[in-house]
Symmetry: C2
Subunit: 135 residues, 2 copies
């Protein structure tokens, strides 16, 4: 049952399986990987009749990210996407409609990344391949 899975997932991550967290986990993980924004999930909750506030969705997404259930992807500027695929991979970003598309893990290889400056360490290397509708 997806509900049980969601509960387990949350417990395993050390988060209390509350109604709204379970509901959000279901929306996020029930149908394979996805890229979601807070607003998207809010809409889906409204439609599905799940009572939850936008603030809680933001809280929840950040918590999920903090415990490693999600990864955030920032592109284009404004909105923040949350990606249920937490494996090492990169993205196509469609500037026309602001949509993200996964580039499977292992396809892209980044060569020649220099050492981090001064007292800094590299935490992540993100590749964003911007695409546009071909004319």
């Amino acid at each position: 049952m997806t509900d049980l899975t969601a509960q387990e997932r949350l417990r395993d991550a050390g988060l209390r399986p509350t109604r709204q967290r379970c509901a959000l986990a279901d929306l996020l993980y029930a149908h394979g990987h996805r890229h979601a924004t807070a607003e998207m999930l809010y809409e889906e909750c409204l439609v599905a009749g799940i009572p939850v506030s936008l603030a809680t969705i933001y809280n929840t997404l950040h918590q999920f990210r903090d415990v490693g259930l999600l990864r955030d992807v920032s592109v284009g500027g404004t909105k923040t996407y949350f990606d249920t695929n937490i494996s090492d991979h990169h993205h196509f970003y469609n500037e026309s409609d602001g949509r993200l598309i996964d580039i499977p893990d292992g396809l892209i290889d980044v060569l020649g990344v220099p050492e981090a400056p001064d007292g800094k360490m590299i935490t992540r290397v993100d590749v964003v391949v911007q695409v546009r509708e071909k004319k």
Copy 2:
């Protein structure tokens, strides 16, 4: 003279060399390459006694970008940086202080970028190397 250079740069780009555009061009190009936000430039204008509004700075930055004088870099989420270095290069992004550092052109090589999906074309490949203060 920097002022003349700015005027020329603007004329060459097909933009009327108004006071504020010239002033902004000077701030941007007078001292080598830089990464600037609208807010930064606004502050600098205030300090320098250059009368200009934030709205005009946003307009101007977008115009400069549209004619190829600047490139925008979006990282971390919120603010948009404008980079006077329009050559093909990538960036370090310091999550701690939100600062951008250029990675010189040619150092990084991205292998294995797949074809763009369906009727789309690739317009740009951006690599962002996130760094954090080493503990």
